[in-house]
């Protein structure tokens, strides 16, 4: 019989309704404000859709990272992670309703100019070739399929685990282990193709076989940072102060370090280096824009802030075991993960300019000062990094809704799976 520490609060209690209320108010308010800004003409509607997609992909990456984590724990029959699994389940559970948040993206596809391939220019042979895949109906059917898979998987794992809280039947664990293996296969393919459909096809000419894996590593980063922050916040409010120990922070820190920092850098490096080295124009074009103007600074920021800095900071075991340092690092990692998603979603390629110039210095020159033919705007004004309030309001809105729904889901349940058969292992383990 596992003896849980009796002097700690393991329920959200009256915190849940408060988080829910404020989350909904802020969330709907921020999204409403974003729509207003989009419609008001202060920013274009296209910009609204882009910014919304950015926010959506960001919260999606957190929830998918959580789903992956939960499936992985069952697949490997992990013992260490039991006490923190419920919080991950709370996050992953959002996948059951996140399809509602996807509706504006669909609207953007049909009404806006979000995806260029919807109305290909006349005589574009390349997009004609891709018509079979880049077809709005097929795209929509696929999206429904992805959300169905994620929703069902998330629902299954969350329910089965919460159900175990009632009766403590170890058979639930066995059942989840059995679903975990095919679940992982489904997860891998749906995540890959979803991100190809929603992000990679923003530039319909560009392609990279690594893209799905890149997003996977990014989502692991965002999720791990989020989970550590949530654990620290819960403990600050006096909850689960005994069950979640330094050992769990240490292990989560390792998870963040391994997948979110090291593996991310490995994938990012391989993708960049191989495209840079082969130097095929169709492929380099995607990186060329990310090496111009403000995007260039952002790329360098990612290199230093997503890899070099955190790598050096979290390499040693001590920062990972020091809650204050680890949590601060995670706040940074969550921010830099947002920058990473921004860097993936927001740039648009001035293809006409890149086709026209003959050298890199000329490209930089033209990008800075050249005027887009037929308009009064320079390339820099249109294509360079330009923050907008919308980028912030969309992501804040969606994050607040995620927070609200997570709190609601965990309202009536213990914050740790209190009758999991491997709970004892998780409470007692040590990093030697």
């Amino acid at each position: 019989m596992v003896i849980l520490p009796d002097n700690e609060n393991r329920h959200l209690g009256d915190l849940a309704p408060r988080v829910f209320r404020w989350g909904v108010i802020v969330g709907l308010g921020a999204i409403g404000l974003s729509v207003l800004i989009g419609l008001s003409g202060e920013a274009s509607l296209d910009r609204f859709f882009r910014s919304y997609l950015l926010g959506f992909i960001f919260v999606l990456s957190l929830c998918l990272g959580a789903l992956f984590f939960v499936i992985l724990q069952h697949l490997t029959k992990a013992g260490w992670s039991v006490v923190i699994r419920r919080i991950a389940e709370g996050l992953a559970g959002n996948l059951t309703w996140l399809w509602i948040g996807f509706i504006p993206v669909v609207v953007g596809l049909y009404m806006g100019d979000l995806y260029k391939w919807v109305d290909p220019p006349e005589g574009d042979e390349l997009l004609k070739h891709k018509e079979a895949y880049l077809d709005t109906t097929f795209w929509l059917v696929r999206a429904v399929f992805y959300f169905a898979v994620w929703g069902l998987l998330a629902r299954y794992f969350v329910r089965c685990s919460m159900d175990q809280d009632e009766h403590g039947d170890p058979k639930n664990t066995l059942r989840m282990q059995r679903v975990a293996a095919p679940g992982m296969v489904l997860y891998a393919f749906t995540q890959t193709f979803a991100i190809i459909d929603w992000v990679m096809t923003l530039e319909p000419y560009w392609y990279s076989t690594m893209f799905g894996v890149y997003f996977f590593s990014a989502s692991a980063c965002g999720f791990a940072a989020m989970l550590i922050i949530l654990c620290a916040l819960l403990q600050r409010t006096g909850r689960v102060t005994q069950s979640i120990t330094t050992e769990h922070y240490h292990d989560l820190g390792k998870y963040l370090f391994a997948f979110g920092i090291f593996f991310w850098a490995y994938i990012a490096y391989c993708q960049y280096m191989l495209i840079w080295y082969a130097n095929i124009p169709e492929e380099t074009i995607w990186f060329v824009i990310r090496q111009l103007g403000g995007w260039k600074s952002m790329s360098i920021l990612l290199l230093l802030g997503h890899f070099a800095g955190p790598f050096l900071l979290l390499l040693s075991r001590y920062p990972k075991r020091f809650k204050g340092v680890l949590t601060a690092a995670c706040v940074w990692m969550l921010f830099i993960h947002f920058v990473d998603i921004y860097w993936l979603v927001m740039p648009r390629i001035p293809a006409e300019l890149i086709d026209r110039v003959t050298s890199y210095p000329q490209l930089e020159q033209e990008f800075a000062t050249g005027v887009i033919p037929g308009t009064a705007l320079t390339y820099q004004e249109v294509y360079d990094l330009n923050w907008h309030l919308l980028d912030l309001t969309c992501v804040v809105g969606l994050l607040s809704l995620i927070g609200a729904m997570t709190a609601r889901r965990l309202r009536d349940h213990c914050l740790i799976p209190e009758k999991d058969p491997r709970l004892g292992e998780s409470l007692a383990f040590d990093n030697y």
Binding site: T173, A188, Y207, T209, C270, A278, I280, G424, L427, Y432
Partner: protein
Amino acid sequence: MTTLALDNTFDDPTRRAPLVLGHDEFSTVTEKICGVNEARRAPRAWYIAFAISLFFTGILGVMILYLFATGVGVWGNQNPVMWGFPIINFVFWIGIGHAGTLISAILYLFRQKWRTAINRFAEAMTIFAVICALMFPSIHVGRVWVLYWTIPIPNQMELWPQFRSPLIWDFFAVGTYFTVSFLFWYVGMIPDLATLRDRATTRLRAIVYGIFALGWRGSIRHWHRYERAYLLLAALATPLVLSVHSVVSFDFAISQLPGWHTTIFPPYFVAGAIFSGFAMVMTLAIPARQLWGLKDFITLRHLENMNKIILVTGSMVGYAYIMEFFTSWYSGSLYEWFGFANRAFGPYAWAYWIMVSCNVLVPQIFWFKAARQSIWVMFIASLLVNLGMWFERFVIIVTSLAQDFLPSSWGYYVPTWVDLLMLAGSFGLFLTLFLLFCRYLPIIAIAEVKAVMPKAHAHESEASR
């Protein structure tokens, strides 16, 4: 405990399965494992296997002499397929050498204690596979007597290797990998070598094992330093698991050749390498545990776990195949699409389908528990996976080169008898080294296995279970 000790393949989330079966005391564990090395005569099967392996090693030697005396024209390498068997074999053997470090380093960091039964000989296998791998590029240079030109040392000719070439990165990647794997293997073996030294009945054994045991006396201080060193080596070796095969994949992926240039190559090669490495561990572990009666240490549960890893990595390889195929169509590039369609339906379609069926379809059998626990099924599957992974390298290298952009330079690659004998000979060398290892070094990490026996945790608090 006694009822548990017969079977550890149960699936009960309320308790962990024992990793060592039987009723062994710590002393009998030492007896059993050292007995493999201390028996006056090895089992007859060992002598037969050793004779055959040695014979093929001899063939390898003769073929290398013939190659040196005649030139690389004895191989089937021809325009346009300039990289034939030697590079295929190189990539194949490097891949085999991946399971060792994965088991020793990554599974160690993941606290997968079942690794203790198999890590020692998986590491040994790594070392020998890397030796086989290193041989091929070395003899591939043609003028082997000036091989030292590839080493970046200052010299009077002002001759430097091309640092922008991934071939030179390979040189460093594989060299580092070999060094660290060797250190890891050796450091891990020191306590066991001391055990063999202490038990030695002849002067010669005492001296030889004594030298390599580096004065190990098993004091607390020794153990403390040892554990520290081991953890650090594990952490250092982990990035190497990724880097070596990634750099090997760069040899192909930095080019512009359809079928070679694709960004998923590095992780795809790493997954494939671990996949083939585990298959080779299975191929060797199954006869070894049978031959020397080690079934209580390398239990059915160990084999089942390895089968699961084969299923996972095989599916990752399948994922990469699908991504490549999808993207070659999606890219809209005629050459890309031709490259892949040609693999599946062109003149080398036979090789492609061997690859797909062995690497992707065969491991799917491990979805079934009965297959994961059947010795014959897993043995045959492991052989097929080895075959499939060799063919993967064949498909990648040969099909992309044989039919490139210019139809007038297309050709069909056929290996010569020298190629085939060299491949067979490399297996001979690998198995010879491996059999010698089994005979003279502790094939299971004795000290580590004792630490995971149920007896080592007799006083573990019941409250934590």
